[in-house]
Symmetry: C2
Subunit: 296 residues, 2 copies
Amino acid sequence: MGSSRENVLIVGLGLLGASLAMALKKAGGRRVMGWTRNASARESLLSKGALDETAESPDSLIGKADLTVLCMPVPQIGEFVVEKAALWRKGSVVSDVGSVKRLIDEQAAPALAAQGVEFIGGHPMAGSEKSGPDAAFPGLFEKAVVFLTPSASSSKEAVSKLRALWEAAGAKPCETDPCSHDAVMAGVSHLPHVIAWALALSVLGKEDGSEALTRLACASSFRDMTRVAASSPDLWTGIFAANKDRLLDSIVHFQERLRIMKEFIEQGRFEDLREDIAKGKALRDAWHSDKYGDRA
Amino acid sequence: MGSSRENVLIVGLGLLGASLAMALKKAGGRRVMGWTRNASARESLLSKGALDETAESPDSLIGKADLTVLCMPVPQIGEFVVEKAALWRKGSVVSDVGSVKRLIDEQAAPALAAQGVEFIGGHPMAGSEKSGPDAAFPGLFEKAVVFLTPSASSSKEAVSKLRALWEAAGAKPCETDPCSHDAVMAGVSHLPHVIAWALALSVLGKEDGSEALTRLACASSFRDMTRVAASSPDLWTGIFAANKDRLLDSIVHFQERLRIMKEFIEQGRFEDLREDIAKGKALRDAWHSDKYGDRA
């Protein structure tokens, strides 16, 4: 094997990047290089054996990489690629883990294509409201769907390389296009985050003398519905900005559903409300049983 | 001890009622009688040792009860009390586990007061999206807050009896008044349920050709935010109807928070959005660390 092993470079060693490094090292068969701005984070991962190599600057590592996965916050990914584009080797493949794909693809793909380097976006459906390398673990991607967004010009070889990497990390690759990805993610992930923060502000931010009782009364339904409100404001503001129009569509669609339910309550149309609720329950139950085989 | 043991009657043996019976039997020191419409459910709990006594009709049991806890769906509680009021013994105490308190109190308290029986509402902050006696377990109320809503005319003895019962079940009694209870619950529990159904309908109910991708993309944030959408439509329509005005207030308050966030996104005011999100995160983090000592 030796030098024929694939050289993987992971840039950004937060929850996702560090977990990916750990998963790939655990799977074996690849050389895993990693870089992140924080020197103690990269040294700590190296000493734990989650990396084979690191360096003070990413530049030397980029030149050795067969496959690079950019695991930084969304707004930094395109910038990094544009700045460093000349450093990648011709024929190498660059991907990312950003929660939005169209904007990143528009920035990264042309900059790299000019160097003979392919960019293929990626987005693993894994993560947590926790962040940073201390929250990382090798099983994070186990059985998680990872969306890959190749374009018409992507080579079969590049797509295969990327699929194989994610399969080694335990994930299930699924191909789609950047626009469909962003429209769907706006509804299933970005909207729930907006709602979680709006709910936390609405319930815990009320200043009407009921604060102590409110905090006592908040129980498991509130806890679970606001779990993702513990996520990073910086990270998510970046995601919302990068998927602005599709997010607005999904907020409007949700507002309309909520308005209808509110109208039923206002007008005392409780049988209509019950039917709406029963339909929502049926959709959610069917999805849950498909996805989890009815494990809670 | 023998005949001096307190006779507790639980009417309605679903998740809450059956769990309360189990918890009280486990704690010991009380005779636990139970009745529910479903004959096989009450016989099964009797044979499992979760009840000391049951009967075909609740009427004979009511006459023996020192303390009765009504564990039926909200709309049935007031009706049951009004219908059976004459059967309770003078000096006995009646309570319930309904998620709304003002309406039930207005129906039950006067009907029982006329018989020399005290009604004191109760509401344990425990439950699950699952329902029925098969989901019951004796630890359901362990460390859960239980709101008790005595009135100015409630006797100290009656309140003590009720507190002792819930403490035996592992819960932490907390006194408040029915109106404050209902206003707070509208925000911390009823609103999250409405949002969960609106979100499930909005995301999974879309018919635009993206259904398969959507179902694949729904992950842990969507799952947790819609967990309570698996709850019973009948049960919750009854709760919403019984707390209509306070629920409408909390929906309006939430809609306004969401509208502000949407406006920030629309106008590209992402620094304002980030500040809003950071405030929501801080409120939620502080609540969570207070409540759970920072266990996830």
